[in-house]
Symmetry: C2
Subunit: 328 residues, 2 copies
């Protein structure tokens, strides 16, 4: 009898997805994009509007490190979901929150958590529209976010074409550096901790990029750049070559790294940076420069996922530090 | 410092709802019906279609009694959410599932759980469109269900008018009787246990009732008939008088009850029966008889919530056995 501990999460996702998909009859309520295939599920509504939806479970033992404030826990539980909405180029239209609360938790901390959720939703143009509360031994926060987009502006993981440019918003490696410091109890810039505990979902960037008509595929890199490149490659049927020195990394993260190997470990193989990975038609480069801040880190190839590093080419492994649960 | 254990769930819902609502500026992304006000949140989309959404957290220690199969756990986690969709008169269009899975759980049990979710979604015309999996010490299943309805057919808790008939689908008291038997380790009809473990969300009844144009208010009675009458009364600004002998109760539940007091305790003051409570224009009674099976249990009054029982009138208290967490 196989136990859950004996299989990895990706395998489990495949098993569940297969059960969900077997024997399904397509009808009006079938999603345009189904479970396990993208950052969000996508449903067709009347007219040209599409509904996108995502859910994420966070809980104390795996997602809320010791120094995180309740406000930041609330912020993060909304932010991780908004990041999935951003990855579709969609606009968030509502957040639901299911809270499992330990009896010994202080009410003031619950208020702070709820305020953090509200702040994150509010800044990105939406709000908490409903939820559920339950007593639970372990603080557990499940956010579900709904978004909408025009059919014409929906961006999927599928769609990258050979010679497209590979781009990433923001800076990578922050989560890796902070996790490393927390684990080894070493000093770390409080600004980096805040960046990790209070991530910026790229809602505005995602919407702006989608509207240019220049973006051919997109996803968030919550599972790390390497895993995400593999996911995007599989969905689009392409390969990638990226240049490690072109990855944008915060100066303080660079300073913290022992060597180049550690920097690559943090910026390529660690999850928790909620940035967008996307591919761009090369002819669009001038048009798109104004709508969002991002870095070009490589280009789309016909196959294999590799990295130029110190003048050499090396394969990028399909692994990441899976701080947060996988999306089905 | 107040701890969570020191306040009841309704108070906590009020506190959270107040934080969520303070300082909000109404805009396109504001819900038509907000957190804490109804069985579902309601969002306006383009055109005349409305989106309804609900989330519910279930977990081992409070929601999955010892004899429940993993398949039934899956079924129930979808059913409780569908019940909220039914209460709005809406059609379900997608279910998301966030699963917190203990490492020692057997994979076969997870498969069964997922099959139970899929079966329940499928029977009511929808499917699992996405989700998240996480390792968790306690088996925790959070379902989020989306539904849609025409603006013209949306039914809220608000809308009951004096002299409307008070109606309930199905039979009440089953959950109460089974919980009592499980708690006291007494014998109980396996058919009743199955009815409790595998509840029938009233999706088809809710949709059919909403389309008659005869239903003035509706909600599900997952928190028990008494709590639901109080909630409906508060939302509609009315009162109710019901007749205890008109409440439909399964024959085997009647047989199990020690006395009339226990029967009232099970059928009025216990949650867990996922039936719909609704109010009906009296002139509609003939028109509506064909669309769904239900019982008329009383009528709407100007104020106070009372019950005729053995020829006497008694007040109905605002209490219920809250087996499942409150909706915010």
């Amino acid at each position: 009898m196989t136990k859950i501990r004996e299989i990895n999460e990706r395998e489990l996702v495949s098993i569940i997805t297969e059960i969900m998909e077997s024997g399904l009859i397509s009808n009006r309520s079938s999603p345009l994009v189904a479970a396990g295939k993208d950052d969000c599920a996508v449903l067709e509504l009347n007219g040209s509007e599409l509904l996108v939806a995502s859910t994420d479970m966070l809980h104390s033992s795996t997602d809320f490190p010791a120094g995180m404030t309740p406000w930041q826990m609330g912020w993060m539980s909304v932010a991780v979901n908004l990041s999935d909405i951003a990855a579709m180029g969609a606009r968030p239209i509502g957040v639901m929150a299911a809270l499992g609360l330990p009896p010994d938790l202080e009410l003031d901390n619950v208020k702070e958590l709820v305020k953090g959720m509200k702040a994150c939703a509010g800044i990105y143009g939406t709000q908490i529209i409903g939820g559920d509360i339950d007593r639970h031994d372990e603080l557990t926060v499940v956010g579900s976010v709904l978004g909408s987009t025009d059919k014409a502006h929906l961006i999927l993981r599928k769609g990258a074409r050979i010679d497209d440019l590979v781009c990433v918003t923001g800076e990578l490696g922050t989560a890796g550096a902070v996790l490393d410091a927390l684990e080894n109890d070493t000093n770390v810039d409080p600004g980096l901790i805040e960046k990790f505990y209070q991530p910026t979902p790229r809602i505005f960037e995602g919407m702006a990029l989608a509207r240019t008509g220049c973006v051919t595929s997109m996803m968030d890199i919550s599972d790390g750049l390497a895993m995400s490149l593999h996911d995007l490659a599989a969905a689009s049927g392409v390969g990638f070559v990226i240049k490690s020195e072109d990855i944008a990394i915060h100066e303080n993260v660079r300073d913290m790294a022992r060597d180049d190997d550690q920097l690559v470990e943090w910026s390529v193989y660690t999850g928790g940076d909620f940035e967008l990975l996307f591919t761009l038609r090369p002819e669009c480069i001038e048009k798109i420069g104004e709508v969002a801040k991002f870095t070009i880190i490589g280009k789309v190839t016909s196959d294999s996922i590799t990295m130029q590093r110190n003048g050499r080419i090396e394969g990028i492994e399909a692994r990441g530090f899976q701080q947060f649960g996988d999306n089905i």
